[in-house]
């Protein structure tokens, strides 16, 4: 708690600066794309949100595995804390994708492999959050949600790699790649990277705050339980 309390202000400032810089640069100071026109500006929200929607679930998977193997309570609380953040990022990715798709594809939605696996991932997020809320025994809730997280990981990975092995979908290839030829043009690439850094930092900051909140709530409940037992 002490270490996270010390790094939080620094990380929050870095998140705010990189997010603002990436979005302002992308929105105000990049040209329109020759095919997409000004809708290309949506990538500064859509790509980082989609990337973090998947990575949040992967983080939850790692935390769930730590819970299963080591029974480390903070890892279970960190996974719980990350779920609403990941769900919101997924919703941002779905909403911005639909808004972009309407003028570009002529439809808000298509049952494309990547879109569909992303929608299923969002449902898994909702199920994961609901399961934590529904089970009173915290250890049992951590076990059940960790198991659900492992099942949902299939769709997180599918969302990530569907464009590589399913060709029948509408969704184009990845906007970022290690292969420079496949990347978006340089003029969009740099603000996009900055925006991604902002989303990553925002995720870290929110998960840290929410994990600290969960720890505090658990401590308060434990203190009250101890007080009741004494009386």
């Amino acid at each position: 708690m002490r270490l996270s309390g010390r790094v939080l202000p620094v990380l929050s400032a870095l998140a705010a600066v990189s997010l603002a810089a990436g979005l302002v640069w992308g929105f105000f100071f990049t040209p329109d794309d020759y095919q997409q026109g000004s809708t290309v500006k949506i990538i500064y929200l859509h790509v980082p949100a989609a990337l973090m929607a998947i990575n949040a679930w992967i983080m939850m998977l790692v935390a769930s595995l730590i819970w299963f193997i080591r029974r480390h309570h903070v890892s279970a609380l960190a996974a719980r804390a990350a779920a609403p953040v990941g769900a919101t990022f997924t919703l941002v990715a779905l909403a911005t994708g639909a808004i972009w798709g309407q003028p570009m594809w002529g439809t808000w939605w298509a049952w494309d492999p990547r879109l569909t696996s992303f929608l299923i991932l969002f449902v898994f997020y909702l199920g994961y959050i609901a399961l934590w809320e529904a089970v009173e025994d915290s250890e049992k809730a951590a076990d059940l949600t960790a198991a659900l997280c492992m099942v949902g990981s299939v769709f997180a990975l599918l969302s990530r790699y569907a464009v590589l092995f399913w060709n029948q979908g509408l969704h184009q290839g990845a906007s970022l790649s290690l292969d420079k030829e496949e990347n978006v043009a340089d003029v969009f690439y740099q603000p996009l990277l900055l925006s991604i850094a902002g989303f990553v930092l925002l995720f870290v900051v929110l998960v840290l705050i929410r994990t600290r909140t969960e720890i505090r709530l658990r401590r308060a409940a434990a203190l009250d339980q101890r007080g009741t037992a004494r009386a």
Partner: protein, 53 residues
Amino acid sequence: MPDLGTYAGAVLGAYGISFALLGGLVALTLLRAARAKKALAAAEARNGGIPND
């Protein structure tokens, strides 16, 4: 403000919805954090717990 042409509605809509969702998430996170801090302080006062940070 850049000239967004015929897609102004789509671009501004995407930014508006995203800011609303992310802003809501940040606000709820901070609100819940403040409530938890108060709840722990109250529990410590009731039960004589040790402050944690």
